[in-house]
Symmetry: D2
Subunit: 360 residues, 4 copies
């Protein structure tokens, strides 16, 4: 891809080789991380752990890695590496964080364990926190809104996929002064089945999950906490499971106090995203793909963001779409690590997607 | 179903036989009407017209009717029947309505041609109206909110599928005094591909339509006009195409002025729907199907309605799901005809759905 | 359907009321049985057992039955009824068969426990048999090939879905003398995810099962035993999982010894199926649905059967499609029970399907 | 991806820049070609033609290219370039081939126009040929069986997707002496909707195409001609449309004359594919992905090949899976061009796929 070739030289310039361990590599996000690191010009995977799959080849679990000569190891006695990526369930990293920092200078956690800013928030939204002293040093893994703080960061906290889609859609309205924070905001999210992880279970079995438009966490979704933290305002948030595997799509309905023109909106979004390598604008135009769609970004680290203006009720409808496993998880983590380590931002993340593609 | 009627003694007992013609029988809603009429204990299909398929057997176009001995005829020179169902594109019925009433005492139109109350609305939302004098006598085909007026009605106007789902979800909040009409209402609809009809076209081709969460009529959707007409208030309405064939699901986010309890909500909904044969409540509980889902009503004339309360932002989230081709079109038309003609309300509409079922 | 029976006068006229118990009612086939029995003019469900769901309403597990006033009970101490339907996993019925006959005159087993004719076959294909003395009295539940024996049968053995599709496709070639039994027969089956049952598991989780064309039991599929038993010849059998929920489609490639014309094929198939209420022929013609498709029979007890002739290699390609949960399981069981008890063959099975429908 | 980094240096070393034109760039394969060329270290896209989309940006038609600054031009007056890729419908290239060679030294045609070896074959399988004098110089674009001839080739003929899957699966059995050519071979193919192209049409509309297992070209499929040409024997070939967008899966049932062991099969396949960069073997093992699946290679130029042995009927079942738009079309074309021009074989084709992915 054009962008890819641009940054190809970095493979040689930087020359820099970074060793990495993936803790919890048998799940979906772990596999995605491994795929990205294997194709990254700088990272070298030293170790991949999985208690359940220890000894098995990663290719037997993740088909795209069938070629790779890599096996899962037990998650104990970790080797020393430059960067440790934790793709473990919520609650694991907070318990092992000291241990992680003993073997790595930089820790990138893809769970919810370091996303929020205070122990109080974990008491309110989760079951408290085991290592609150680390919360202050953790940086939210979204370069579009947190790039400066990510540079040189030692602890990176991956964002939630639904929160990421929502924040990327609404952020420019606050930055651009179109929203103040006291307006009514309704966010209606549609998400794919990969969000449920590799576990299975009745609700996510194919017969029960296929073809659904299923209210899922209709209220009180934990990602609200992140959105509130980064936008500085609460939102009315509802999530639906729909029939796709990868993807999260957020439709945000907002009602600015004053009149707003399309020009105002364009300048607000351009102001934030013009130079962002992983944000594509899609707001109208002709053809089939006029607005953001998860389908258009499946397998990529790109987010699509767009909007429409509803004069009849002074509403701005904001659409934002990502691949929940990429921009919403593993891709975001690699992007943030690239920034933290001073590597080329797009390194390992050049894939721009497939057309046509189905329920990816 | 042809076979079904053969063996259905009720067809004889019930006695009353009603002759019916379907104008425009080769489309999806036309086929659905034929399927329902063939299995109906009272209706007898006299004629099915289709300009494009004239001479072909209906079974060659609609597989479920492969058994039936019925062929499409030219749409001109219609026979006299008791009831004429028009499943033609918007704009056709308003031009032929006089002709329709010459051959039938009762006309049921499934298009948008007689849904709205005034010529002014057609000027605003459509391209005007050719027979505005009929608008006053037309009755909206939703017995749940219009049963009395439908009894004995001569002109029945089918509702839009997205409007039907939305109205059924919100109506009890107004009836129950929980909403007054001046509150903010955001309606986020997800709809299946059958809504696009049998035409095809690039956007609805399988490769482009599969796996989508595609903003579709993000603002200014014509169904808003109906919703406004029957709820007496406007809504902020956005529609998305998702990967299913049958189904429309409306998630309505409302913000009552005063405090509301689940008990208040239950009594409002029970008050409206307790005795409705085609409305099922689903609001929480255990298992996989805790809220309304189009999947659960696919192929049926049932609507599922439910809600959840969000204390954090004093929001009521209302979920309503229907099969856009049944409760949202052909099933609703037969239901309304049953009421208009004094037949058993559920006649021909007893099917309660399949479990499990996929992207139905 | 509770509501359905209320309004179905035939329930009274037909008079004869048959009490039935469903043992193992929380699985997919159990739910399908309950749906069919609830809508049947003669059957009255006395008891539905489920160890895991005892006490819960059937509607909480099977949404189409949300209206019904029926709860799961413990599977012990069964009441006396006319007919007992067992929808339990393989191996359960053979252990409880004496007990079943103590409470019912007629037992219909949907598992594999009584499908085969001899203990030797169970030793070869399964893990032996606990009650071989019952094998002789068991009748295979396929009226199209076994109607006479089913009349008055006390023990009815449901067929396997893949075997049923295959047998219905090939049977006329043997009956019509086009195949002798020594020819090469290759059967390539495609089946939906409901065949895997309600259990779930990694391979049938939506992310892993969606969009597959997955070789599944590429060789040695147990259904081969049934096919061999009823066609009197073995077949080269391979099964694939594809992306649908309901449906089994068998493509059989056969190579008759002598020359065969389309006329020969039509007379062979018409000879067997002309008067069969649940077999539809589809062999060429125009339009989209020219050959059998699972989509066209989803939710119905109908089988579609068709063929094409390949002059270049003297091959006959036979296509047969069913809904694995209906004609391949619960529908077949009710059909066989209707025959065994002398009820109207199509009673409770009139539904002819939906068009369009997705991955049903 | 590991392989990718290996060849990254070539971007600088080879330095070699190759100019390319894509004739017919608005279709699915045209878009796929553009995507691959944009990410290729050597190719530079000079021109993309499309009569219907002339003037539009390629990103408006192919979302993954939204970033690219490239517009469609009229297909007349082509510029001179090194390589011309023709992604036009069958019949177009044979009429413009002289013109193509006037502007390019190397022509890669993705249609069927130069696949077969003789005018006689085109008379038999197609509607004859306009430029038979070119057939002799055309080389089939499958390096796995034709690498030597592709080196330095001037006219490259892309293979059919179903033929490619079939040939890759069966080729080793002939090379390894397990098949002689007189054995019975039955090939049962399942293919995705992208094969139908961007055109649309009733049969490929989402409502009609979703969830199908639809016999499609049950006999007499044109790809048989290619298979026969390259394997030297005819096959009994039947194709089914299934519910995925990308992918072609061929299940070949073969009956060797003598006894065959798994060891014999492994050595035959290893002998052919051990060193092939784009062929992955999958034959048994544990986990979910034990055999080839289109899902596992979606978006990649990889083919998965595997087999199973059926002792009961001395049958070998061969499974082969590709992405019909990549290894079955655009990817194969770029791979062949890499070989013809002496570039790194994997250049631009390193993507190894996604896990999990849906109906891709």
């Amino acid at each position: 891809m054009a962008a890819g070739t641009e940054i190809d030289p970095s493979a040689d310039d930087a020359g820099e080789s970074v060793t990495a361990t993936v803790v919890g590599g048998s799940g979906f996000t772990g596999g995605e991380l491994l795929r990205l690191l294997a194709g990254h010009p700088n990272f070298e995977v030293a170790e991949v752990t999985s208690r359940s799959k220890a000894g098995k080849s990663v290719g037997s679990v993740h088909p795209p890695l069938r070629g790779a000569d890599l096996r899962f190891t037990e998650p104990d006695d970790l080797e020393s590496v430059d960067v440790l990526f934790a793709a473990t369930p919520h609650g694991v990293s907070m318990g092992r964080i000291d241990e992680f920092f003993e073997v790595a200078d930089t820790v990138v956690d893809l769970s919810a364990d370091f996303r929020l800013e205070s122990e109080a928030q974990y008491d309110e939204w989760y079951d408290g926190h085991d290592a609150p002293e680390y919360l202050e040093k953790a940086e939210y893994a979204l370069p579009e809104i947190n790039r400066e703080n990510l540079e040189g960061a030692e602890l990176i906290a991956g964002g939630g996929c639904n929160a990421t889609a929502t924040i990327l859609g609404l952020y420019p309205l606050f930055e651009g002064g179109i929203l103040e924070g006291d307006e009514q905001i309704v966010v209606d999210v549609k998400v794919g089945s990969s969000e449920g992880g590799a576990g299975g279970g009745a609700a996510s079995s194919h017969p029960e999950r296929s073809g659904v438009v299923r209210p899922y966490a209709p209220t009180g979704h934990r990602h609200e906490a992140e959105i509130e933290a980064f936008l500085g305002t609460s939102v009315a948030f509802t999530c639906h499971a729909v029939d796709m595997v990868r993807g999260a799509s957020a439709t945000s309905h907002v009602f600015p106090d004053g009149p707003v023109s399309k020009g105002d909106l364009w300048s607000a979004y351009r102001g934030c995203y013009e130079d962002e390598p992983f944000v594509r604008m899609a707001a109208g135009g002709s053809g089939v793909y006029r607005y953001p769609e998860p389908k258009a970004v499946a397998g990529t680290n790109h987010a699509e963001v767009g909007f429409e203006l509803d004069p009849s009720n002074e509403r701005v409808v904001v659409f934002s779409a990502i691949d929940n496993m990429m921009k919403g998880s593993a891709g975001q983590a690699v992007h943030a690590a690239n920034v933290a380590l001073g590597l080329e931002e797009m390194a390992g993340l050049e894939f721009t997607g497939l057309h046509p593609v189905g329920a990816p």
